[in-house]
């Protein structure tokens, strides 16, 4: 069944392996049709599933639908920086996307569409984690700090934590 689908992303990113113009990729496209299905393009025949890491070509990883208590309702314009909780939820969503795609790729290593999505989300995750940790402290013991901030925050299993 999979064989019948076109799993190529047609973006040329595999022909041009060292594509440098991907390094600052940002997703600006807010009206991408598949914003609420993480598995978009995986295992279904998604016509819009060209993913090459170019702006707007991968489905945006959805925000968790928690009610954020610390969002100021007047500050909802797109330019607003994400709150800490939003950032962590975005990290969680991107991390899960990478895990899901990696497990899928373990048994479908030639699937170009999945590979491109993995590349895009893994890059976004790396950048977002870096940004988060610079402000709020380490998410793992591998983040270099001038002061040992590993003990500052509550642990994830503790109530009242993110």
């Amino acid at each position: 069944m999979l064989e019948k689908e076109n799993r190529n992303c047609n973006c040329g990113c595999n022909n041009n392996y060292m594509m440098n113009n991907n390094s600052n990729m940002m997703i600006n496209n807010n009206d991408y049709p598949n914003t609420n299905t993480m598995s978009a393009g995986i295992g279904n025949n998604n016509e819009n599933g060209n993913c090459c890491g170019k702006p707007g070509c991968a489905p945006k990883v959805p925000m968790y639908s928690f009610e954020f208590t610390n969002i100021d309702s007047e500050d909802t314009c797109e330019e607003k920086e994400m709150t800490r909780e939003e950032m962590l939820n975005q990290i969680r969503a991107l991390d899960f996307a990478v895990v899901e795609l990696a497990e899928y790729l373990d048994t479908h290593e030639d699937d170009q569409k999945a590979l491109c999505l993995h590349k895009e989300y893994a890059t976004q995750l790396k950048e977002l984690k870096d940004k988060y940790q610079k402000v709020y402290g380490p998410l793992s013991i591998y983040f270099p700090c001038n002061k040992w901030r590993w003990l500052e925050e509550p642990w994830p299993w503790e109530r009242g934590n993110y």
């Binding site: 991390d95 793992s140 590993w150 003990l151 500052e152 642990w155 299993w157």
Partner: protein, 204 residues
């Protein structure tokens, strides 16, 4: 949550398979003082620790123990990989081979399968940390016995020596954590209000 790094903490490159050594070393995989027990002991106990340092040390050492588990598994695998059934049986691994082939399965040197009875989580941070200190010493002693049994193969000795040294460092860290917990528990408590009576009243 956890992520995996595709590199051993310390290299394991054993040139000569030796199923007899594998039979002994597997105890540090699934035996009473092995790395699986160590990791689950610390990762289970960390939830109940009273201060950040103790939580952090149990979390981080519990994580490192998983890397040690992988190293011990790699040693056992390399010592048994490609060995014929006759050699396996001659090494005393006939029983093991019957049920597991040369897969790496958590058992002790005597063949007892791993059990949660090897670990403790007592609901008492002092008791738990004392247990952890003892566990590190028992693991060090086990590695020393394994080193005595593996004298002829430097490829096996080298990672065992590294693992033994880690037990000593962890013992040191747990000692420091225990001191911190004892100090914290010995602190004079200062109450802004007598809440305990109110809680009793509320619960009536």
């Amino acid at each position: 949550m956890w992520t995996y790094n595709k590199v051993l903490q310390y290299p394991v490159k054993i040139k000569c398979p030796n199923p007899k050594l594998a039979k002994y070393i597997i105890s540090q995989y699934g035996g009473p003082d092995g790395e699986l027990a160590a990791s689950l002991r610390y990762l289970s106990q960390r939830f109940g620790m009273p201060d950040q340092n103790a939580k952090a040390i149990l979390n981080d050492i519990g994580t490192e123990e998983l890397a040690h588990l992988e190293m011990v598994g790699s040693i056992v695998h390399q010592l048994t990989d490609g060995v014929c059934p006759e050699e396996i049986e001659k090494a005393g691994l006939g029983d093991y081979y019957t049920d597991h082939g040369v897969d790496v399965y958590p058992v002790s040197a005597a063949g007892n399968p791993w059990t949660a009875a090897y670990i403790a989580a007592k609901g008492d941070p002092i008791a738990n940390l004392q247990e952890d200190l003892a566990a590190e010493q028992k693991a060090r002693a086990t590695y020393e016995k394994l080193i005595n049994l593996c004298k002829d193969d430097p490829d096996v000795l080298d990672p065992l020596r590294f693992l033994r040294q880690r037990e000593i460092v962890h013992f040191q860290r747990f000692g420091e954590a225990l001191r911190g917990v004892q100090d914290k528990l010995a602190e004079k408590k200062f109450y802004m209000a007598n809440c305990s009576q109110k809680m009793c009243d509320d619960n009536k």
